[in-house]
């Protein structure tokens, strides 16, 4: 029995109908790998009928760096820095995912201080990621100004990170067994100042973009995806929650300090672009709520429960753990053969699954809607190819 594999070549073959002199022809266009709104090197092969999108075929692999394979040749500690490079906008949360998997496998107990700081950092990172998304989303819809507003506010969080961590983007801060450094003495003050600053700015975001009639027209009802479809393609994070499925690991698994704080899981109703937009804006508010609850009671303690020089060896076996990044569930699967480096690492990245929502939702919408839908999925391409 032979298996027929459908290649890209098969899919881009056209059936031309010459029966009528007025017959029109569908055509294929490459959107990317160099295109302003694919945010990196994502390639989408589009089957277009005039302006209408008939089919979207994502073609991946343009930024594949073999992170999983590299992980097999590095120690567990070293692998953490590679996780920064997955979804670089959730670098700290990725660090946390890898560290937590290793800690659970090696039975490392953490103190409360580490958990609270990790939670704080993760939520700041989530706000920062959503700020950037908001700006880019505006730009994809043709409004350039939100982009710079988003960057302006993002900078403040980047400064907070820089002060404590020393880096602004790929931070490598959360380590197996604790944190790389203790927080900077000015951290609490700075975060409070940021909360003060950002609350009115979020209202400004609403005035500039959310209430705009053009934006509403562009988003409402566009790219609708029901909860069932979203679950079947494995979408997670805001994309899934916008479709009305209240799945949030922060609530359901309550890792870190999430069990101690009160926050709501924001869900949408229709699963259209507007809901995805609204869910993310609302998530920024919820994240601020979490930070507000934690920032005043950071417990005392060490920032590292084990010496950084200690080599970590996991007992033989398979380990899986997952966290909620700004874009959805990041799962880390480690197969250990008892040596210093993992036998195999697999990453279940949120963007890989979220991207396939475009094949479900974009058909029969216009080219302009495709850009809006893609942007509302908030795809970070290096997270897809890893």
């Amino acid at each position: 029995m032979s298996v027929h594999i459908t290649t890209l070549d098969d899919r881009v073959r056209l059936r031309q109908d010459d029966s009528s002199p007025l017959s029109t022809q569908e055509y294929f266009v490459n959107m990317g790998p160099q295109h302003p709104s694919t945010h990196g090197v994502l390639r989408l092969v589009l089957k277009l009928d005039g302006e209408t999108v008939r089919e979207v075929i994502p073609v991946l692999g343009y930024i594949h760096r073999g992170i999983e394979k590299m992980g097999e040749h590095q120690s567990y500690r070293q692998f953490v820095h590679l996780s920064d490079r997955l979804d670089y906008l959730s670098a700290l949360i990725n660090n946390w995912a890898v560290s937590m998997t290793i800690e659970k496998a090696a039975n490392i107990e953490l103190n409360d201080r580490i958990q609270v700081i990790r939670t704080l950092m993760a939520e700041l990172q989530r706000i920062q990621s959503h700020q950037l998304w908001w700006g880019v989303f505006g730009m994809d819809l043709g409004a350039f100004t939100p982009f710079l507003y988003g960057f302006r506010d993002r900078e403040i969080i980047a400064d907070i990170f820089e002060e404590t961590v020393g880096a602004r983007l790929t931070m490598n801060y959360i380590q197996p067994g604790g944190l790389m450094y203790d927080i900077h003495p000015g951290f609490v003050k700075r975060v409070k100042a940021f909360l003060q600053y950002f609350k009115p700015k979020l209202a400004e975001y609403e005035t500039l973009l959310s209430g705009n009639v053009i934006l509403q027209e562009r988003l409402r009802g566009v790219g609708r995806m029901d909860g069932q479809t979203a679950l079947s393609i494995g979408a997670t994070g805001p994309v899934l929650r916008a479709s009305g499925v209240p799945l949030d690991l922060r609530k359901s698994e309550a890792y870190g300090s999430y069990g101690k704080v009160a926050f709501d899981v924001v869900i949408g109703k229709n699963g259209d672009c507007w809901d995805r937009y609204w869910v993310r804006l609302e998530e920024m508010r919820q994240s601020m709520k979490i930070v507000e609850q934690l920032i005043d009671n950071i417990p005392e303690g060490k920032h590292m429960v084990m010496k950084p020089a200690v080599k970590i060896k996991l007992p033989e076996g398979c380990y899986y753990n997952q966290v909620e990044t700004a874009r959805g569930i990041l799962g880390v699967y480690i197969v250990s053969d008892g040596k210093e480096s993992p036998y195999r690492i697999h990453l279940r990245t949120p963007n890989f699954n979220n991207l396939w929502a475009i094949t479900e939702t974009a058909a029969n919408w216009r080219l302009g809607d495709l850009v809006a839908i893609l942007s509302s999925l908030d795809v970070v391409v290096p997270d897809i190819d890893r």
Binding site: V29, F144, T145, L148, L209, L215, R218, L367
Partner: protein, 366 residues
């Protein structure tokens, strides 16, 4: 017409002066013609640079940054440097492109712009040619722009360019209808097609507010439709940077790209200037009916300044839109024109006819 305009400003265009000089000396006439041509060309170059600088500065301040700051004081020579760069850049024509049309397209676009500029009454003395069918001429000649865009998109042999060109074609031709309907309202009011006479007919008050709301509706219609005609945000779908990379001029580089770019900016000025001329009195000072004293004070401000001020305000408005609004989708754009603007345009034209029939203006002068 009031006595003020006739006596103080002897309106003479460059073309008229050339015609008067012709019997005496052919060289004088030729000199005036050259003056007109060189004047328009120099004006375009300087204005283009000025507008680009203004746009970048305004965009900068809208976006909490400073804009160009390095070249010269507050970056005033930035556009000069950019122009030099564009002049020196390699002019790439894609291998599969239709070379002749590819080279021709930006010239067409710029040509439409130059020809409109020649009939704009900027002040009683700065006016190249006063065509007796000015309004019709403007409507006809501005069509060159879309021709250039269509040719450019077609000849580039690039699917993105073609999509942009087709969008532009559909958009510009649709919105021209609404713009023309709004123009006709002013033609009805003033009873003339000559742009200078339209300006003079507003001596007692500008058309935007003299006709009980009809003028305001026509003003808004014309302004919105013109924005769509010149592909400015929120109607910039032919370029659609995030959708079509750069739309119809994706395959253009160097000076040919600069032509498209220049035409876009000059078109912005033209729209502002035309709107000011038709609805805000052009170079005509702010007059209120028969209030002679008030009008006399207003007359002290030179007409060139009035024109510049009004145009600059509208240009600022256009830039403000660009740095605030997202972009419409292509079908929404068509819906806005055919289902909203067009019916309003027709209704407004009928209302204007009624206003004219009963001579129902504020400050009726005729």
């Amino acid at each position: 017409m009031t006595g003020i305009t006739e006596n103080i400003w002897q309106a003479k265009t460059v073309a008229q002066r050339a015609a008067e000089a012709l019997p005496e000396s052919v060289w004088f006439a030729l000199g005036y013609m050259v003056l007109g041509v060189v004047g328009v060309a120099a004006f375009i170059a300087v204005l283009g640079m000025g507008l680009i600088y203004a746009e970048r500065k305004i965009a900068g301040h809208f976006q909490c940054r400073l804009g160009p700051m390095r070249v010269g004081w507050h970056g005033i020579f930035q556009t000069v440097a950019d122009t030099l760069k564009l002049l020196l850049k390699e002019d790439v024509v894609p291998a599969q492109a239709d070379k002749f049309l590819h080279i021709l397209a930006p010239l067409f676009t710029l040509l439409g712009t130059i020809l409109v500029l020649a009939v704009l009454p900027m002040s009683p003395i700065v006016h190249v040619s006063d065509v007796n069918i000015g309004v019709v001429y403007v409507g006809a000649v501005s069509g060159f722009g879309v021709l250039g865009i269509l040719l450019g998109g077609w000849s580039s042999n690039n699917k993105w360019s073609l999509l942009g060109a087709m969008r532009a074609g559909a958009q510009i031709i649709s919105y021209e209808i609404s713009a023309t309907l709004a123009l006709l309202v002013v033609v009805l009011f003033s009873g003339t097609l000559r742009l200078s006479e339209i300006v003079e007919s507003q001596a007692a008050g500008w058309w935007i507010w003299r006709a009980h709301g009809v003028g305001i509706v026509a003003f808004l219609l014309f302004f919105i439709a013109s924005l769509a005609e010149i592909n400015r945000t929120p109607f910039d779908i032919p370029e659609g940077e995030s959708e079509l990379t750069a739309g119809f001029h994706t395959e253009y580089s160097g000076m040919r790209f600069a032509f498209f770019f220049l035409a876009e900016f000059i078109n912005m000025f033209i729209v502002a200037a035309l709107t000011a001329t038709l609805f805000l009195g052009g170079w005509m000072p702010f007059h209120i009916g028969d209030f002679a004293g008030f009008n006399a004070i207003m007359d002290m401000i030179p007409p060139g300044l009035w024109f510049t001020g009004k145009t600059a305000f509208l240009v600022f408005l256009i830039m403000w839109f660009r740095w605030t609004f997202p972009r419409l989708r292509v079908d929404q754009l068509m819906r806005l024109e055919w289902k909203v603007l067009l019916p309003i345009g027709f209704a407004n034209l009928i209302a204007a006819a009624v206003v004219v029939l009963f001579n129902f203006y504020f400050f009726p002068v005729r």
